[in-house]
Amino acid sequence: MTHKLTGDQLLTTDPLARVEGEGAMTVRVRGGSVTDVELRIFEPPRFFEAFLRGRAYTEPPDITARICGICPVAYQMSSCLAIEQVCGVRVDGPLRDLRRLLYCGEWIESHALHIYLLHAPDFLGFDGVVDMAPHAPEAVERGLRLKRVGNEVMTLVGGRSIHPVNVRVGGFYRVPTRAELRTLREPLLHAREDALETVRWVSGFDFPDFEQHQEYLALRSPDSYAIEGGSFVSSSGIAFESADFDLHVREEHVARSNALHARLHGVGSYVVGPMARYTINHDALSPLALEAAAAAGLGATCRNPFRSIIVRAVELVYACDEALRIVAGWEPPSQPAVEVTPRAGVGTGATEAPRGVIWHRYRLAGDGTIRDARIVPPTSQNQASIEEDMRSFVQDRLDLPTDELTRQCEQAIRNYDPCISCATHFLHLHVERA
């Protein structure tokens, strides 16, 4: 039933669909003002950090990949970097290229899933992609083609598309031959055309007039659009290395959520993910991706979270471009991995998961046994900002009928492609108008 709410009210979405995991959003409205917004995550804690204690230094890529079926590569890559840092090993050259190629596959698969199957239906007024498909079959087929190519890259490089098995500390168990990687060229060329069409398609959507000015945090790399490593840089110029993440980011437990809220020292809430990456690193995009961004009306930054769908599409173009570049120049190394000998110490690793930076820290004993582990996924970093978005978004739309307001709130939450399974360490929405 549609009805307008006045006075003191409560709006809820319970549960929120098309997001990963279980959670709920509650917005309290008193006297015509939004007084409180709570993103509650009640997916139970998954205790991966505790599982890792006592395990061998070689195991985090396989164990942490199981945290998420959408971005397992992100967990594998950050864990490898952290362990390698402890052991004084740096993986460069073709092995780093291959890691970047595997990561491009994950970006293509994840961004295509989110744009086409989860987020686009919001903009076109459908309850979901199943309802959208009869009205936009060509678009849905395009999304499925893109997703398939992402899966192909992950399968060829990672051994399989979900929870890849070919990643190890120091590199890979097996590296593909030139002929094997060349089989990806044609699919990637088609995918790049589909990605360009994706940018054109989503840039024609209607976007609410809504801007946020939160701090952006992303990795930056001197020689490329940061994906598989880099140093932290924020939109206000705060810069630090992965090893100092703990000094700059504080995680807080909030009683309503099983996920921790992250705060940037001296700033407070912040945003990671495509909009942060684009704002901080757009100069490092490929010419084709930059051209697509400009044609879509993106400038040097993007401050409207609803336009994040355009940024994801631009990143799709970039991921295809990068994958093609790596495939074209691939010369297999003589060894599939660098030897990594364990030693005592602490190491950290940070990489750019499709939905934002993910940070790992491990402390090893001399024999390589993991003494403790910490994992900070993107959704827990974005939680506080999602709440702030909702506070100002709802305030300007209090005259909307409750069901329409609830629908728009769900769309706003999906701007962040939240992955709550990862953060619990998912979503039901309540808007209380009391």
Binding site: P15, A17, R18, V19, E20, E22, R66, G69, I70, L113, H114, L117, L118, G128, V129, V130, D131, A133, P134, P137, V140, E141, L144, K147, R148, N151, S161, I162, H163, C419
Partner: protein, 170 residues
Amino acid sequence: MTGSAGATDVALVVGVGNPDRGDDGVGRAVAALVRGRALPGVEVAEVRADPTVLLDLWEDRHPVVLVDAVCSGASAGTLVELDLRRHRLPRTAIASTHGFGVAEVVELGRALGRLPAALVFVGVEVGDVGLGAPISAQVLAGMTEAANRVAALMRLATIRSSPARCSLRG
């Protein structure tokens, strides 16, 4: 593309599930049993996550039997069979990748005209889906019956030549 029956069709059995979640792994376990029987002209595939791959897996395959865990409140191990060309699976988003599960993929396939000409769902009622739990004794008992039923469906000439005759049971 809508599948159509033909003399050279290859049949497909797809087991769906997560073996790390106890009885949820039953679909794949049943598929493995069917694979062990080496039925002529029958391919067997397993899907752990991301059911959208089903749309590609079943392209040009006929007939297709999809085996998955179900939760209806019946006794663990109970079989349910559904002709998905004529009936819909209930859409239950929770516990699927970004809320996109097998039922959604079947309906997406229907909307895009990409369902096989014959698509039958065989479901096994779950009991324990705890993290790391083994498949429960009741579901293990139901697995053999499920594999027998899948094999029988594959042998039925009627299912290959006349999808409309796929039976609805349970």
